[in-house]
Point group: C2
Chain length 295, copies 2
């Protein structure tokens, strides 16, 4: 492994999110400054970092939490990106038009430019993750942005479980797949299923790194949100892995922290040269991937 | 977990393969009988089990090792399948016509019927795995067969690294993805890379189980083949995992053995109900998966 250099460090902000959006934005700003002081050139915030994970409830009042992109938080973060010279991935609850909302992320380059917006393509809807109520499925498709840190793709949470999304990002030249996330345990299931669920989540993302020969960075929140009896325990475990699926850095399951990892992007070429999966894809035989089921 | 019943057991024959094809076939027959005695209703042989892994060399004489399907080995195995009432997956070096060879597998039902043939779709070609010299890429596509043991898809070795193949099998209703394999370490790399490579191989296949909500069974050979200085150390580690990616049974890295695992197929529905990935695939956004690269 080459020597770590400042240039190659990326940081995941494993945050605890509270009721007050302003407090969350201010905390994120402080953590971004800290991460930059520690050498990070790319900093990633967790999904919907500005608020509690309100999708535990289906309540029309929560649409008030949304903001446009660009909008107040984007503008604040653009100023910070420019000031610090750091690439930022800023997930936001986006209002695009009256009655049209997305679970989105703004991609900001190190000079403060808003490079683009990704709108979550795969929307879950399961007990306490009632996202189909709030979020229109994205129409951005899967995208890659050339930042000063390298070519990145941003996908969001539930997208993690779909190899198609990872592949389409890799085919655009992504060097890192970035997954802002809000995933947790139902407390009553945790003893029996906690480890199984967290390991499945990690395994699937490590597999994206391997099958596509690139880095994966997933950033999750921590803390209990919702009623004391019930709610969700967000499981943290934010991590970065390399193209071999090796975990380079990983957060705890319960502490707010900055997870810093080095990225030696020469590994992408090295790994793909030895495991040339992109050479051997049978693109003549994949047509049916656009079908729902083959019955 | 429900009680194990005889009906739900599957067996992987983690074999050591020697020079004499007849000895390998006879050994496989003995192991199939043993596996049946232990309760297995589906038995899977490793890739090219009848021979050494001859693809370490590019030598036209090795084409003599191929046989048609149906052919002598298929017929022997059909008789055994019928006699024992066991489903068999029998990988063979297939000669389909003069000069047209495939890395194939015959799928035999428990009444001895030859249900079909799968021809390896993704063909590797890397140091000591010179398969593009021998094997024409398959034209079967990805298939699922309804056996007396359930709906199975058979893929072969290098196919393991391609999520597209796993997905297309799942979309046909496969309950198990079966991967006959011949994968090993280059001895000179083993100390530094052995664990990384074996874990990547395992991680990717466990991820197929999770993203598709089904069982995965991978069977590999063991033993050193080739020159004492060099050659390949086949790494065994044959395993079965469930739709959560949990490993139910796994072989050693160096011993010939029968790996037996129970299959509770009700887990497929249970898991998919809680993690409904098939519901949320964005089939409107996957068209570019049939492209080589998006540049």
């Amino acid at each position: 492994m080459p020597v770590r250099t400042e240039k190659e460090l990326l940081a995941l902000l494993q945050m605890r999110c509270e009721d007050d959006p302003e407090a969350n934005v201010a905390r994120a700003e402080r953590m971004i400054v800290q991460a930059r002081e520690q050498g990070a050139r790319l900093v990633v915030l967790p999904e919907l970092f500005k608020t509690r994970y309100f999708c535990q409830w289906e309540d029309p009042r929560f649409f008030d939490l949304a903001e446009p992109i660009p909008g107040p938080t984007t503008v604040r973060m653009q100023a910070l990106a420019k000031k610090l010279g750091v690439v930022l991935v800023v997930p936001l609850f986006e209002v695009r038009a009256a009655g049209l909302y997305h679970n989105s992320a703004a991609i900001l380059d190190a000079d403060g430019t808003l490079l683009g917006v990704y709108r979550k393509m795969h929307i879950p809807h399961d007990p306490l993750y009632y996202e189909k109520y709030y979020f229109t499925p994205g129409d951005t498709g899967f995208r890659t942005w050339a930042t000063q840190f390298g070519k990145i793709s941003v996908l969001i949470c539930w997208d993690q479980w779909f190899p198609e999304a990872a592949r389409l990002s890799a085919l655009q030249g992504a060097e890192i797949l970035i997954y802002p996330t809000a995933i947790g345990w139902h407390p009553q299931e945790k003893a029996q299923w906690g480890l199984v669920q967290q390991q499945a989540w990690e395994t699937v993302q490590r597999a994206h790194a391997i099958t596509n020969g690139l880095f994966v960075a997933a950033v999750n929140r921590v803390g209990h949100e919702g009623p004391a009896e019930g709610g969700l325990d967000f499981w943290g475990n934010s991590f970065v892995c390399d193209p071999y699926g090796r975990i380079l850095a990983q957060g705890s399951s319960d502490r707010e922290e900055i997870v810093l990892a080095p990225m030696d992007r020469t590994l992408i070429e090295t790994m793909r040269r030895h495991w040339p999966f992109l050479r051997d894809r049978r693109i003549d035989a994949y047509q049916d991937l656009v079908r729902r089921f083959l019955d």
